[in-house]
Amino acid sequence: MLTKRIIPCLDIKDGRTVKGVNFTSLRDAGDPVELAKRYSEEGADELVFLDISATQDKRKTLLDTVTLVAKEVNIPFTVGGGISSVEDVGLLLKAGADKVSVNSAAVKDPDLINRLAKAFGNQCIVLAIDAKEIENRWMIHLAGGTVATSLDLFDWVKEGVDRGAGEILFTSMDNDGTKLGFANEQLAQLRAVVNVPIIASGGAGSIEDFRDAFLLGKCDAALAASVFHYGQIKIQDLKTQLANCDINVRI
């Protein structure tokens, strides 16, 4: 049986990991390669790198980072952040990325998903979505959640999959940063709308939160950043406890 996946997410800026990574045993906690190896050894099933740099030579730096990671790490990883063309994706996959995630660019140009799926296959196209509830509707937000749109979460997910997205990475902005759990109700609703794998993101604070995302939210994978980076949850402990709850994980 296919296992549920645990995915640490690393923010990358100018080739360095940012945001309070707190591994005392690492020589250089800002080195994406070292962190990626560490997570892989701890039992992470996959990694997501989100590039948040805004510099001119952003693309070249990111490609270099991707290649450095691909050389050293023997589990799959996804790269996202500012990807807006077939050319961008081709270069990232060539550099060694296994999957790419698109977000704002796909909302502005939905046909981008079709072009990417056609060029590279839908299995490597992850549609990343940031949404929050406004007047009882879940609305898509862009540019790291700063720009609201009039697009409905469930409509957009369905459209994205119809256009060729092979996986959905759903971040609930209402839950993100709260450490009070994932948006399980919305995740379960998404599950009923599409048949591709869904990655839950936003809200992880405890091992129980992951359990609930899998059991109540029916998601296929759960992504988190700070609980892993600060060492609050160890991936091995997490997986052992999930297995104790009869959740199928790779141990």
């Binding site: 049986m1 296919l2 296992t3 549920k4 996946r5 892989s40 099933d45 996959e46 290649t67 691909a70 050389k71 050293e72 023997n74 589990i75 799959p76 996959l93 060539k94 550099a95 060694g96 296994d98 999957k99 056609k118 060029a119 590279f120 296959g121 839908n122 299995q123 490597c124 092979g166 996986e167 048949n195 591709v196 794998p197 296929d220 994978a221 790779r250």
Partner: protein, 195 residues
């Protein structure tokens, strides 16, 4: 000892090359027939759409060539699927090495299958030292049914061929280059077969 990775514009060649590097196995990326013939082993990778990949093999005049290879050949993911008789993806003929018709998952499971799944009853030369029920990383929407060449079975709604073996031809539906330490054992076994 050198492994040649068939270069026909198929996605994940870099990851395969890096994985071989990690095992200190020299490799080259090429579609030159002389170089392929002189390699000790061949890796036939593949990611993306079957029809595009077959077209690209035709353009490089490799369709009739690959089945005649005598050294160990390892097809990975789409590479393995193309080594079968046919595939539903684009309804095309494959290279006909494995006696299987590749089909799309349609038994109520999520498609694509993305993630780690168990290989049960590992048999054959690629799986020496790999315990039964080890996990491998899969990313695919199509599968080869279980057949006489099947060397590893995985269940996803139905049992399918996670790996196949016939004479000097090997195929893995999973990505050994992304399957952590277990995948490394599989690649190491393949490298040893090429010695």
């Amino acid at each position: 000892m050198k492994i040649a990775i068939i270069d026909y514009g198929a996605g994940n060649t870099r990851s395969v090359q890096f994985a071989l590097d990690r095992l200190n196995c020299p490799s080259i990326l090429t579609n030159d027939k002389d170089l392929l013939l002189s390699a000790d082993g061949i890796v036939f990778p593949g990611v993306g759409h079957a029809e595009n990949a077959m077209k690209s093999l035709q353009e490089k005049d490799l369709v009739d060539f690959i089945p005649t290879l005598k050294q160990p050949v390892l097809g990975i993911c789409l590479g393995m699927q193309l080594m079968c008789k046919s595939t539903e993806e684009g309804n095309i003929s494959g290279l006909g090495i494995f006696d299987a018709n590749v089909q799309k998952f349609n038994s109520g499971v999520r498609v694509p299958q993305i993630g780690w799944n168990k290989g049960v009853r590992s048999e054959g030369r690629l799986f020496r030292g790999v315990p039964d029920n080890s996990y491998f990383y899969f990313v695919h929407s199509y599968y080869a049914p279980v057949n006489q060449s099947t060397s590893l079975i995985t269940e996803y709604g139905i049992p399918f061929s996670a790996a196949m073996e016939k004479d000097n031809f090997f195929g893995c539906q999973f990505h050994p280059e992304k399957s952590s330490a277990t995948g490394e054992i599989v690649l190491k076994n393949f490298i040893e077969l090429c010695d």
